[in-house]
């Protein structure tokens, strides 16, 4: 079963829903796929929906941070949406504040922020 189910183009942004059983390998592959698509489709934003993720550890956190960096270099902003409360608390306790990533409560919020940008 694939961990990453969908990448959709919504209003000039790539919306990615990450599934809970995503493996390290899959998420690194995702990073690459996304980087290529950002460049190819010249999108303005990447929205990572992690509402299905019950666990986000330092590896996944780092991959997300790297993706944000890559996107920015390709003139797109990355938004993380749907982080669960327990995940937020745990990341903070691990010292992962992810300061260079934008966050939003939901897809709607992220899109509205993108529109304003």
């Amino acid at each position: 079963m694939s961990g990453v189910t969908s990448i959709n183009l919504v209003e000039n942004a790539l919306l990615v829903s990450i599934q809970d059983d995503v493996t390290d390998t899959e998420i690194v592959a995702l990073q690459e796929t996304l980087s290529n698509r950002i460049a190819k489709e010249r999108v303005k934003g990447v929205i990572l929906d992690i509402s299905s993720l019950e666990i986000v550890d330092t590896f996944v956190g780092r991959v997300i941070a790297q993706l944000a960096g890559i996107s920015r270099l390709l003139a797109a902003e990355t938004y993380v949406v749907g982080m669960r409360p327990a995940v937020a608390v745990t990341l903070v306790e691990l010292g992962m504040y992810l300061p260079d990533i934008r966050t939003a409560l939901s897809l709607t919020h992220a899109l509205s922020q993108l529109r304003r940008a």
């Binding site: 993380v80 949406v81 749907g82 982080m83 669960r84 409360p85 327990a86 995940v87 937020a88 608390v89 990341l91 903070v92 306790e93 504040y97 992810l98 300061p99 966050t103 939003a104 409560l105 939901s106 919020h109």
Partner: protein, 291 residues
């Protein structure tokens, strides 16, 4: 045929059950652990009877070759009765020491009756006394553990209730939450406050959180760390945080301690924070025309 110590003890309990119950009550009174202020005579007697009945049952089936373990199935009844009695007693304010002494008081009536038992030679009496001691001691120790467990649960529940009362998350306006922090912020409390706050953000889809520290006594490095962690977690979920109630003195302390709030907004008053928050969620505050 020589009887085992256990058999002798059992025969005492079976032939003079009510006598033992009464004397047990008597010893409890003498040791000051009956707590007539909390339990009526009939309640106390009923508890003792139930306990002794279960104790006897356990001895009858649960002692093999003079060995026993209260964890075994044979002692299930005793454990069940003990749990009920402990809950009752803890609920009314009995202390663990009182409870343990309450149980240990059973030794006195048993020793007395052993001494008076016909046909038990002097030397053998030691065996019986030892057995009674082992049984009642095990009983008392087990009681203590259950008792403390019950008490811990009550304390924990009370603590939770108190916590909820003292740190409510209030929805001040549509999509604006406020968290008035009062008193001290230790690690445990900070953690629970944070969990509650984040859960509320999710449920209410709040976009702005005002953490007000006007009621917090001192802001030292630890408190600041808790605050900034909470603010970071709020941001990770997609909401914005404003820390309000930063007095000039707190501001000075924070600078002196080298605390860097980073990108978190700070305001000196709730009023200012609220004004900011409302604007962020799309409201404009206007005065009505004066006539």
């Amino acid at each position: 045929m020589p009887q085992t110590a256990t058999a002798n003890i059992l025969s005492i309990l079976e032939t003079d059950f009510s006598g033992v119950v009464e004397e047990w009550l008597g010893t409890q009174v003498k040791e000051g652990v009956k707590r007539s202020d909390l339990f009526s005579d009939s309640e106390s007697r009923a508890q003792n009877q139930e306990l002794l009945k279960a104790f006897v049952k356990g001895i009858r089936v649960g002692v093999v070759n003079e060995e026993f373990s209260l964890e075994d199935d044979a002692w299930e009844d005793l454990r069940a009765v003990l749990s009920d009695v402990s809950k009752e007693r803890v609920g009314r304010g009995v202390t663990p020491t009182e409870m343990a002494t309450f149980v240990l008081a059973l030794k006195a009536p048993l020793f007395k009756r052993l001494e008076a038992m016909p046909g038990v030679e002097g030397g053998k009496l030691v065996r019986e006394v030892l057995m009674v001691t082992r049984l009642v001691d095990a009983f008392a120790i087990y009681t203590n553990e259950i008792f403390i467990g019950e008490r811990d649960q009550i304390i924990e529940r009370q603590r939770q209730e108190m916590l909820e009362l003292s740190t409510p998350v209030v929805e001040l306006w549509d999509r604006v939450l406020t968290l008035p922090l009062i008193g001290t912020l230790d690690s445990v409390r900070a953690q629970e406050v944070m969990e509650n706050l984040l859960q509320t953000i999710l449920e209410r889809q709040a976009e702005v959180v005002i953490m007000d520290i006007t009621g917090v006594g001192t802001v030292d490095t630890q408190v600041a760390q808790h605050l900034l962690r909470a603010a970071a977690a709020v941001r990770l979920m997609g909401a914005e945080c404003i820390i309000s109630g930063i007095s000039p003195m707190i501001a000075q302390t924070m600078v002196q301690l080298g605390i860097d709030v980073g990108t978190v907004s700070t305001r000196s008053s709730i009023r200012a924070a609220l004004s900011d928050a409302l604007q962020k969620v799309g409201y404009v505050i206007k005065t009505t025309e004066a006539s």
